[in-house]
Symmetry: C2
Subunit: 512 residues, 2 copies
Amino acid sequence: MRTRMRPLSPATSRINQMQFPPLDSNNNVSLAQDASTSLHRDFEKVHESMHAAISMNKTEILDAALDDFSEGYFGLSIENRRILLLKLAREYDLSRNQVRELMKQYLALELPSDNAEENAHEGEGSFSAFYRIERNLRQSLKPMYEILFERLNTHPGGLRFLSTMRADILSFLAEENIASVRALDSYLKEKLITWLSPANLQLLNITWDDPASLLEKIVAYEAVHPISNLLDLKRRLGVGRRCFGYLHPAIPGEPLIFIEVALMKNVAQTIQEVLWDDPPIGEHEATTALFYSISSTQPGLSGINLGKFLIKRVIDVVRRDMPGISTFATLSPIPGYMQWLLSKLGSIERSDSPFSENLMKPEEETSLLDAAEESTTGKTGMEIMRNLLSSPSHQWANSEKLSVALKTPLMRLCARYLLHEKKRGKALDSVGNFHLQNGAMIGRINWMADRSEKGLKQSAGIMVNYIYKVEHIEENAQSYFSKGRIQASEEVKIYVDEAQASLQEETKGLED
Amino acid sequence: MRTRMRPLSPATSRINQMQFPPLDSNNNVSLAQDASTSLHRDFEKVHESMHAAISMNKTEILDAALDDFSEGYFGLSIENRRILLLKLAREYDLSRNQVRELMKQYLALELPSDNAEENAHEGEGSFSAFYRIERNLRQSLKPMYEILFERLNTHPGGLRFLSTMRADILSFLAEENIASVRALDSYLKEKLITWLSPANLQLLNITWDDPASLLEKIVAYEAVHPISNLLDLKRRLGVGRRCFGYLHPAIPGEPLIFIEVALMKNVAQTIQEVLWDDPPIGEHEATTALFYSISSTQPGLSGINLGKFLIKRVIDVVRRDMPGISTFATLSPIPGYMQWLLSKLGSIERSDSPFSENLMKPEEETSLLDAAEESTTGKTGMEIMRNLLSSPSHQWANSEKLSVALKTPLMRLCARYLLHEKKRGKALDSVGNFHLQNGAMIGRINWMADRSEKGLKQSAGIMVNYIYKVEHIEENAQSYFSKGRIQASEEVKIYVDEAQASLQEETKGLED
């Protein structure tokens, strides 16, 4: 198997980004004017190999063209990659004239009556023309770049390359929203979804006995709770722990996504328990499988929900192998909580705004004012809260008094954030949205569950347990998908209900 | 993994075929009138589960619906399967009204000038509408039954079920060419080609150490040279032999296609050498890899050329593992030769027909008339040849005299059949077409190479060596594909050239 391709390291790409002028519409001119004409020649070579890879017929030489193209592509600067992707999107699009021609033929056909369709054979003949043009239209609606995608997919190393290419397309689109590139991305995404269908993926139980080259990937890509050393890794693969990955045959030795599981007696409330409970309990005592980390290794597969299938498969495997386990839960970060809250608190400045809202209850404000030290700036409770939470040192977390005073409003607002804050009908929090669409419910929120720098910064140290109840997974997923309904335990709902109850009381008081 | 599905045995299907009236257009009425209304109820159940499998949203219950449908389907008579497939093709088609609506929107858009397309950002905006409608059209051009196919593909056992379903569709189409069912087949075939892309298939070197459940499949599906007993099988997996199969992860333990290889000193001329050379040569002495059998296990994958990729992969593997091997060849049957020749000889009766042609040279006719015994009927050489070849006892093959007299015309006509007889620009012989489109050339034809009943019946015992020259594979495939050009060795061409030379001489004589 050829493994000639090497990924571009983030460091290299940053350097390249600085060396080259930003993409402009007259890129040919600016390139010609560029002092480094040899780089221009390199670009042209890659452009030519891309063209060859799309238009060639003889597959023996085609393999070489695909290698040339992917190697050349990796050698390009970020800027030149973008110019190339733009060319791919525009110059290898579909033929709109052909599409229009077929449409005209189609519209000229007379639609047989429903009756004819029902009445079998007589009607069949008149449908032939429809079927024929529909088939031709499906063909002509495929952009020419589909050939490149298809050929790369069956080429050694090609699927991996396509994933890199899509990561580039996504970062391109994040900076500039170009319709043709968006269409390129959406087409490639569709293709990747087909190729990465769960039927083509293998579930691997990753253990300490697996090759170091694979375990190294786990260390490198663990995105939720970074793995600090070899001992930490061994721990996560040892007694009371499981790690499962999804592998594609074309990308051997590197899971596309993996999930870490802790077997426990109870649903853990803090990540410290999971990462450092020493010694772990015996596996026969476990009643709970806790998913404490799920990481994707391919930025180019963004938007392709492999995690959903992975969780479902892992639940099946664990249920089969360990009948003593009846609870499946996560201990998850709440990555968007602080960002949302600080933006809410920021808008208070203009308290004359009709959107201004008092986020704290009077008794909460009193407690916080009492607890605040002299060094803390701010006059109102909300100002103090904002200043404490936005301080990069997170000193409040080390003060018993401040922590106690902040706990009540922060837990209440966290429940509100998770249960009610939405964007286009879906949960605003990305991790929340992920688990809810997979059919989980919100089980519990946990105070001081992640005291790490990252944990304090993104969610004031609060973490959430999502619960997967096997018998409700599909029902929950369905009602979330169709109605945006978020299922939660009474324990979590009470935070919000109390708040609403008191709000209603207030309103009632005003009406009286 | 669920393995609740059982294939319908050919015996059962034949019985069912006799029990039920042939498909007619008023099937509801005829079914209602059928004495066995319970069978009608069964049909309706399967029909309902099919509808549920297409229209349901909750995947947990969906799994059950897919199981119900596939189990129910296997329980249906051939006749009811056909009615169901017809319903699937017609009632779960695409919405033509929606397609037409989108087309009208599309045609109403003004196509930006080429210039605008080139000139980047200004033109981008106007393309957005095109991209959007094109994406919507791609969606609406998907028939509703695609959902069923997609869902089955990711369901345990589903891919296998789809292959059975397609086998039924093909046998349905062979009896009745219905446009909607043809469209169903062509759509399913496209899907299967995507799912069975070589990137998703695993190459397995099948050995005597593999599970009996897998080896049993090899015995059952070997279609070219039936495996007579366990010793025969062990032989084909032993020293000097290889067997490679392509497996799909969703159909474990059963290769979709497999190829048998003999490692030899020379390209074998008879299948007897391959099957019974005892003892085989040491593998280090081998210079030739002879593909002597390639069998597909899934009739539902007809028209999907997995063999091409398999041969290519096997050549790569053998070249890598055994550098001493430089020749890759087949010893192949010529399944259509006798059928073609007998039909040619049959048309001679009407010798006044302008298409009548003397297939024998004068000296060949003389030899055959001399060799013919009294019991042989026929006045002319061609009549005698026809009568000898069409006799089911193949007595000519046991007569030294007759064999010698028949050899010259049969070898000459065989070369003509392989090199010049075509159908729609492709080789008439199906095995020939298979290897030629894969890039092989015709290397040699071998007299009395397969003396089995089957070999004598289909090709008068002649077999052919196709040669795969690694450096010419793609070139040959390409020129066969685009121009129908058949590459052959001088050794084979001489049979036909001589014939043509003498034909030219005759013509010349007439002209003089």
